[in-house]
Amino acid sequence: MSQMSSTQHTQPPILEVKNLETSFKTRHGWFKAVDDVSISLYPGRTLCVVGESGSGKSVMSRSILQIVDAPGKITGGEILLHTDFGDGAGHSTVNMIGMDPRGKQVRAIRGDDIAMIFQEPMSSLSPVHRIGDQIGETLRIHMGMSKKEAIARSVELLRMVEIPNPEEAVKRYPYEFSGGMRQRAMIAMALSCNPKVLIADEPTTALDVTIQAEILELMRSLQKAHNMAILFITHDMGVVAEIADDVAVMRHGKVVEKGDVYSVFASPQHDYTKSLLHAATQCEGPSDRRLAMRERRPLGDPILEAVALRKEYVITPAGFRREAKTLLAVKDANLQLRDGENIGIVGESGSGKTTLARCIQRIHSVSSGAVLYTDRQGNTRDLAPLTKPDLKEPWRDMRIIFQDPFGSLNPRMTVGQIIAEPLMNHGLGTPVEQRARVAELLDLVGLPGSAAERYPHAFSGGQRQRISIARAIAPNPRIIIADEATSALDVSLRTQIMDLLLELQEKLGLSYLFISHDVGLVRYFCDRVVVMYKGQIMEEGETEDVCTNPQHPYTQSLLSAVPIADPTMRASKTRTRYVEG
């Protein structure tokens, strides 16, 4: 029997983690990934543990079920699970630490009292077992159901998580489901034995924002129905504001701040919490720098234009008595970029935004339509029919920054060689002049000149993105296509890179085509925005207009799905769903 006193919570906690310590054995001794963490979970409430990568939040959540991967080991603390036998029949408390991680005792708790869902809904399900089998397994272990009963119950569970046609779905394999569907199936699996605690380890990080909103909504309603305690691990302050009742902020394995969500967001105490909140709220409006720049220098004439651009992929070529199967990746897209303007292309995965950008740049061939580029002399030509040798000149003016800071720099060339590559190929200057230019470019992007001698492996992700930018601006281009250029970076670095891009725009007179799945970034960076969905442009307009008063139902649903880092907005938000038709 454990006596709990809490003024804040109406019910006693169901799970208490006290002074938890989990360490990893390294060559230099034991490294504490989780250091003296104490949290409590209450029925019907959600505790969000928030922190950046490497903060130990994920290890902490796994420690509860004792499924930390080797060489990790729980080295101290208590995990108390309070079980209620129902209607005042009595309580029992067990300390899960000290149980054999492979033993029967802890296995009886896993999946039954405490269930867990994970980040990658694809790889977290076995690809060669049917959905019904994987859900039913938990029921067979803990409830002793027969195979048939388990399948029947699985159908009910799938219906509960709103998977259409559940009778069919139990017979399907995970790869036949979309990402959101898989995560629903994972939730069904976790909830099959009516657990008292659900641990969710970044369950929406790999999903698109509209799917994320749906999953969060589902979790909220299921929590209400089952009076579960939820431990929700995330790095996204927006998600925290959407779903949390209580918040614990983790950094370097320690909880630096905890409290209920309203007080943490209203008056954060720790500096780290403040910086997380600042980074999250920064992108909720236009960049001041950009607005000031536009005041000083109004936009010029259109320099790049896509006219009725279409891109089709052949999936299976035409054969005997069979028509070719094709996929329409971009459908009649029209786009106009003016001199000195930033256009954002926003859309979810599979919307065709990257394909559109690559067609405009002519990395991909174009099925039909035109790409009109006007050069500095005012000559306009259509890039669509050009072949590679003819594209050399336009490519000098139109450059790219890739998403992946690790894949886009040749690891076997020095930074100096990488940046000088376009200079060399276009014959810009002698080797000595090129070296001087590289130093100048490094300075422009905020890196020391000594970087030129080093190889990319010596740099962090943010620094590599700076190198990419230096390479992009090297031949003095006019247009830069930034394809999710900040997506791979930590939140606080994103604005730094975007500010650098804006600074360069002012200095060098650049125009940007900015591709992103993140509406916030587009709002910060872009003058105009194009919203894409399934290869089609749904809406286009001034960024602020589109963001504050979206016209197309898809844009409305997209914007309503974006989490806002303010828990007080929760009640006033209404989510709309976009249904094609």
Binding site: Q361, G407, L447, P448, S460
Partner: protein, 379 residues
């Protein structure tokens, strides 16, 4: 999180400015078995290169007096009768004696006669690498005309040690030459199908699948049976190599094609094209450096199967044939059960095969692990 405008101070300039080869070496060095493999392989190729220097006798010189002479152990401490001793290499002479009752012949150690050996001693003259006239060998009898058998002698009384050294040359080189041929074919076909894709790719992929489906030894046997028995030894060597590489190229072509296709999709390759680099520069300056390390690893892993194949063919009498000496040719002597029952040291070339294959495998594994020193990054 590091400060974005200063370089990570934890990285020494040394590592930060290390080329891929240096990083590969650092990674390779940690692989202990691979280092062991590297040592053995280097040693075997050294023997192959200077086989004459390592063989004390002419490998084809027969000696009717020493048929199936057993191996002799080298002693280092030479004790004289007055208990004084000196550091000298010698072996005990062995005498052929006939058992008076069974009339069977056996070699009996003759403790009275020591045959002294000299390191780098003078021996029959020969040309190192076929060019440099030399007369010293690693070990030579102190007195000319004396013979000793470290690995024993075969049925014609030829020195197995010298034969094993010569066999090392042929067997190790056939692996190298065969793999070089395979590599040329593999690079050509794999590169073409990776570059052009489409029909070329489909046809070559099918061809590779077909060849992989073939039981190699029967096909090899069929092909080498087609070689005329009277062929010049050197020509036969090359023909056998070609036959071996006709099948060996498939694996390399697959590796090249796969890597090539994957590399073409890499952002940094696309980026090089956008930088205005001509196709040739994209391939040779940007793609090749990443390919080369993987190719070296695959090549190393392909050599042992070549060696095994040659050994098998020669063993069956359809590969190399005397007077060419290879491990397989030597093992052919061990085919007869009565021969090995009498002279188990005829197995020694087999130990060479196993050692070579094993260490090449270790080396190849290490190279493959080190081939992409950037792999563990980004996490």
């Amino acid at each position: 999180m590091t400060q974005s405008n200063s370089i990570d101070p934890r990285l020494s300039t040394d590592i930060a400015e290390a080329t891929q080869w240096k990083l590969m070496w650092l990674k390779f060095r940690k692989h202990r078995l691979a280092m062991f493999g590297l040592c053995i392989v280097s040693f075997l190729y050294l023997i192959a290169l200077c086989a004459e220097f390592f063989s004390p006798f002419d490998p084809s010189e027969t000696s009717t007096a020493d048929l199936f002479h057993p191996p002799q152990r080298i002693h280092f401490v030479d004790r004289a009768e007055d208990a004084s001793w000196a550091l000298r290499m010698y072996v005990y002479d062995q005498k052929l004696t006939r058992d008076p009752i069974t009339l069977a012949t056996t070699y009996v150690k003759n403790p009275d006669k020591k045959i002294y050996l000299k390191l780098f001693g003078k021996n029959e003259p020969y040309n190192l690498f076929g060019l440099i006239p030399m007369s010293r060998t690693l070990i030579a009898p102190a007195t000319a005309d004396e013979k000793f058998y470290l690995f024993g002698a075969d049925r014609l009384g030829r020195d197995m040690f010298s034969r094993a050294m010569m066999g090392t040359r042929i067997s190790m080189s056939i692996g190298l030459v065969g793999v070089t041929l395979s590599l040329c074919l593999g690079l050509l076909i794999g590169g073409l199908s990776g570059y052009f894709g489409g029909l070329v790719d489909a046809v070559s992929s099918r061809a590779i699948e077909l060849i992989l489906a073939m039981p190699t030894i029967p096909v090899w046997l069929g092909l080498s049976a087609a070689l005329p028995a009277t062929l010049d030894p050197l020509l036969r060597y090359f023909m056998i190599t070609i036959i071996l590489s006709l099948i060996g190229w498939t694996e390399l072509a697959r590796v090249v094609r796969g890597r090539f296709l994957a590399l073409r999709q890499e952002d940094f390759v696309i980026s090089a094209e956008l930088d205005g680099a001509p196709t040739r520069r994209v391939i040779f300056r940007h793609m090749m450096p990443s390919l080369v390390s993987h190719i070296i690893a695959s090549v190393t892993l392909a050599i042992p199967s070549m060696i095994l194949a040659e050994t098998s063919l020669s063993f069956l009498g359809l590969g190399l044939s005397p007077p060419t000496v290879s491990w397989g040719v030597l093992l052919k002597e061990a085919q007869n059960i009565h021969a090995i029952a009498q002279a188990p040291w005829l197995f020694i070339p087999g130990a060479f095969v196993a050692l070579a294959v094993l260490s090449l495998n270790f080396l190849g594994d290490g190279l493959r692990d080190a081939a992409d020193p950037y792999a563990s990054e980004g996490s």
